[in-house]
């Protein structure tokens, strides 16, 4: 077991303005289960994308040595040829194709008839059944993928990898969307594969799982390897891993602010939201929170914990259905019938998905700033274009949007400047309550600081600010108070010195464990019935 199967040496990968990986070194021994852990955005997925050839050779610096040879992968096919297969977090299966069709997609057993490749379906089905047996799945390979559960879909993904003669299997958050029973089954499967000689890299947030099955754990933080722990050699505890994951010292990455906190300006009570598509699935479960004037309140939680869904459902029902609960603004109960209504009544939400749902990328800075509050510069729905130019220029100056002018299309701006355009739009709608969803995602340090400074100015003016972020240091540095969300519920409220990364992580993990146990109990009860 001492043979090194994979060694990634001094990998450095840069995106415009961001260094995602900085001299990362990563070693995997043959036949082990190696866990890769770190916060959101620490660089785990980037590292795996480098390995799988998703980022082609040449787009990064450093060497990949696999099975004793240096490898240059230019695409996924290249890495699959030598037996490296990656299973992404979002399942890569096509719902309206059968299990067998999915398993052999791009890898069909075919024989040539002239210029055509004709698929041998009998052979495919035979192989499919074999692979499904290996992962312990007793399904007809002709069943459509949409008709089997998420847990089984994950198994199909693994079977698909097996069909590609996998030697090194990479799984990105394989249990993120699974319930506890399915997770256990999957983990057992992974251990079974280890016995068949398949090496496995698992990316996971669930540290208890990692602790349970991993032979080695590598922690990545801020695009750099912190340390690798080996089972049996190092003492592996969750607290040690967490410390490694979050460990950095707080310097003045965050502008100072003397909080001037006033009375409660915005309050949401007993808020319930159901999934817009899946009948009866509760996305937000009886949540209550409040924000004081002059206060920055953070929403912490892992991906999928419901932070965005909560914010958007409050923002004029922009998400979800069958929404119930009370919204109290400035002491009065209010109702937002739609988004325009929410904006008019002084609530503004700025999306985490800047490019997809935030900016009109083909239009210029000017129009993007004014679009949410055109009536402010219009006389009976005729827009005063000169007034608009004036306004846009003011915001460009105030937020220091670096551009050739207000007529530059937003699609050509850098991430940080795009975010400033978003902020300008938010401010121009003159809100009392501003909800910022991941406002610093993917932008450079300098712009981050500018945005923090700006947030401080806003609360100094007495506005209520809700700050959703996956970067915990940011929440620590900026927030007066933090609500921790997990699985659509607020599980704790932290103030002042209570706000630490360890505490937040710990709360989430404890809650997840508790839920899993309860879930398992209720499941077994269901089965009894």
């Amino acid at each position: 077991m001492e043979k090194i199967l994979l060694e990634m040496q001094s990998i450095t990968k840069e995106f415009p303005g961001v260094r995602a990986l900085d001299n990362v070194t990563f070693q995997v021994r043959e036949g082990e289960i190696h866990a890769l852990v770190g916060e959101n955005g620490a660089g785990k997925s980037t590292l795996m994308n480098v390995l799988s050839g998703w980022y082609p050779h040449g787009s990064y610096e450093g060497k990949i040595i696999y099975d004793g040879n240096e490898c240059k992968f230019f695409n996924l096919k290249d890495s699959e040829k030598v037996g490296i297969v990656i299973i992404h977090q979002e399942l890569g299966l096509i719902p309206y194709l059968s299990i067998a069709e999915n398993m052999f997609l791009g890898n069909e057993t075919a024989h040539k008839v002239g210029p055509l490749e004709v698929i041998d379906w009998n052979e495919c089905h035979n192989k499919a059944i074999m692979m499904l047996n290996r992962v312990g799945l007793d399904e007809n390979p002709e069943t459509l993928v949409k008709d089997i559960g998420v847990g089984k879909q994950q198994m199909v993904e693994i079977a698909r990898a097996l069909a590609k003669n996998v030697r090194l299997l990479i799984m990105d958050e394989p249990t993120a969307s699974l319930n506890d029973a399915d997770s256990q089954r999957l983990l057992k499967m992974v251990q079974g594969m280890k016995e068949q000689g398949i090496t496995c890299i698992i990316i996971s947030h669930k540290l208890n799982e990692v602790e349970e099955i991993a032979d080695a754990i590598t922690v990545i933080r801020d695009g750099a390897t912190i340390e690798t722990l080996y089972k049996g050699i190092d003492e592996i505890t969750q607290s040690r891993i967490i410390k490694d994951m979050v460990g950095r010292e707080m310097t003045d990455q965050y502008p100072k602010r003397v909080p001037k906190i006033d009375q409660i300006g915005f309050e949401v009570k007993d808020w319930n939201v159901f999934h817009p598509l899946y009948e009866g699935r509760k996305v937000i479960d009886n949540v209550s929170f409040n924000v004081r004037k002059g206060e920055i309140v953070g929403f912490a939680g892992l991906m999928g914990s419901g932070r965005t869904e909560l914010a958007m459902s409050v923002f004029g029902k922009a998400y979800g259905k069958d929404i119930s609960g009370k919204i109290i603004k400035d002491g009065k109960e209010v109702e937002f019938k739609n988004i325009a209504d929410a904006i008019n009544q002084g609530v503004m939400y700025l999306t985490e998905d800047r490019k997809g749902a935030g900016l009109n990328l083909i239009d210029d800075i000017r129009h993007n700033i004014t679009i949410a509050n055109l009536q402010a510069i219009s006389d009976r729905s005729v827009v005063n274009e000169n007034e608009e130019i004036k306004v846009a220029n003011e915001y460009r100056k105030r937020l220091n949007i670096r551009s050739t002018g207000i007529l530059q299309p937003t699609g050509t701006l850098s991430g940080g400047n795009q975010q400033k355009v978003m902020l300008s739009r938010g401010l121009f709608s003159d809100p009392d309550v501003l909800i910022l969803d991941e406002p610093t995602r993917g932008i450079d340090v300098g712009s981050k600081y500018e945005i923090y400074t700006f947030m401080n100015q806003l609360v100094d003016e007495g506005k209520c600010l809700i700050f959703i972020s996956s970067e915990m240091p940011e929440l620590l540095g900026m927030c007066d108070r933090v609500y921790v969300l997990n699985d659509g519920r607020i599980i704790s409220e932290l103030k002042g010195s209570e706000i630490t990364q360890e505490r937040i992580m710990d709360d989430i993990l404890t809650d997840t464990r508790k839920r899993a146990k309860n879930g398992a109990n209720s499941k077994s009860k269901e089965n009894e019935n």
Binding site: N338, I339, L361, H367, L374, Q375, N386, I389
Partner: protein, 395 residues
């Protein structure tokens, strides 16, 4: 830095005026190849008559295209409205003005129906309008029972073949081959443009913005005025201003105003540029879509009236392929198929290019099958040029 900004500016201007330049070159080309027949007053008049309804449809079609979709039912709606008009006047002998009002109302009702499926049920416009294309074509056949109704009352036919009489000439008893009223209108129009330009410059000055010099404002106005005067002069030498030109002109000015100056116009562009972003900015996307499709059907009704008046009949085959002409006009005029980009001027210029191609090639004696091929190639090359130049500028 300044230099790149300036280079960018000239590039944008070239893109903006590229199609207009193409139009002028095309007109000159046909003027030469037809030994001046193309520029004869009667021919200028004909071009306007022949293309009036396409221009109306192109203006209407720009709105769905701005939101990234198209309306395929346009030709059938034109046909069904013509059929209504025919039956009401020819079979039932109803007065012309009542017929027109009912036709417009019918158009609006058709629009409500279309809008319901697209905006309320959230059906892809391509499918909803495809269905309506079949429905209204069938309905046309049912209403007309497969027959062509002709002739229509002469006052109705006036809509597309009538012109503004030389009232001023008559009033002052001037005997002239030149229609004086037409020239007076043209001059007034030019003066209004100049006043508008100067006024907008004054407003900008009040805000302390940089403005172009008074000289360049005059120069710009002079160029536009020259074009207007040229066309009106040709018209004045023939009969005068056709009513069709008035209809197209009023619609073009109105929709240009809506799209460039009003909140509704902004909302349409925003929905086309990024619908999700527009929604999160508080724009009611369903309302915008509803308005667009009701409007498209309204414009189709107007075009149906103009077209049946021109044919002097209601025919079951009327309007076939009109949607394609309108769509092609918009794309030729620089509209983006994915939405968010396009102008009324562009749609008009695109429509005129198609119309001039038709007319010019007919004068040259090129057969209509070859004409189709040429028009198709022009659309493909023009849009390819647009895409390639955009790619270059984004790199």
């Amino acid at each position: 830095m300044e230099q790149t900004a300036r280079a960018k500016k000239t590039k944008i201007n070239f893109r903006q005026y590229g199609m207009i330049i193409a139009l002028v070159i095309l007109a000159l080309f046909f003027f030469v190849t037809t030994n001046g027949r193309f520029g004869k007053p009667m021919n200028v008049y004909n071009i306007i008559m022949q293309n009036g309804y396409v221009l109306v449809l192109a203006i209407g079609m720009l709105l769905p295209i701005l939101t990234g979709s198209i309306d395929l039912s346009v030709g059938s709606v034109v046909a069904v409205v013509s059929a209504f008009a025919g039956v009401m006047m020819y079979n039932w002998g109803m007065p012309v003005w009542i017929t027109i009002i009912i036709c417009i109302i019918a158009g609006l009702i058709i629009g409500l129906w279309q809008g319901f499926w697209i905006a309320m049920i959230n059906m892809p416009p391509f499918i909803a309008t495809l269905g309506d294309m079949l429905i209204f074509r069938g309905l046309t056949l049912v209403i007309l029972q497969g027959k062509t109704l002709a002739p229509l009352p002469s006052s109705y036919v006036q809509i597309s073949s009538g012109y503004v009489k030389d009232y001023i000439g008559i009033l002052f008893g001037i005997e002239s081959s030149l229609n004086i009223t037409t020239m007076v209108v043209a001059v007034i129009f030019c003066i209004l443009i100049l006043i508008g330009q100067l006024n907008s410059r004054k407003q900008k000055l009040k805000y302390g913005f940089e403005v172009s010099s008074v000289g360049s404002v005059f120069l710009k106005t002079a160029v536009i005025s020259a074009a207007i005067l040229l066309v009106f002069w040709r018209l004045a030498l023939y009969k005068g201003i056709p009513y069709v030109l008035l209809i197209v002109g009023v619609l073009a000015l109105f929709y240009n105003f809506i799209l460039t100056k009003t909140t509704l116009g902004r909302h349409i562009y925003a929905v086309g540029g990024n619908a999700k972003a527009a929604e999160l900015s508080g724009i009611d996307i369903r309302r915008v879509k509803y308005i667009i499709y009701v409007n498209m059907a309204f414009m189709s009704a107007v075009a149906g009236i103009v077209f049946s008046a021109r044919l002097n009949s209601a025919s079951p085959l009327a309007g076939q392929g009109f949607e394609m002409d309108a769509i092609a006009a918009c794309y030729l005029g620089g509209a983006s198929a994915s939405g968010g980009i396009g102008t009324i001027t562009g749609a008009l210029v695109g429509g005129l290019i198609m119309g001039i191609l038709n007319n010019g090639m007919s004068l040259m004696g090129i057969s209509s099958d070859v004409q189709q091929i040429v028009k198709g190639l022009v659309v493909i090359f023009a849009v390819a040029f647009d895409i390639l130049s955009k790619n270059k500028s984004s790199r």
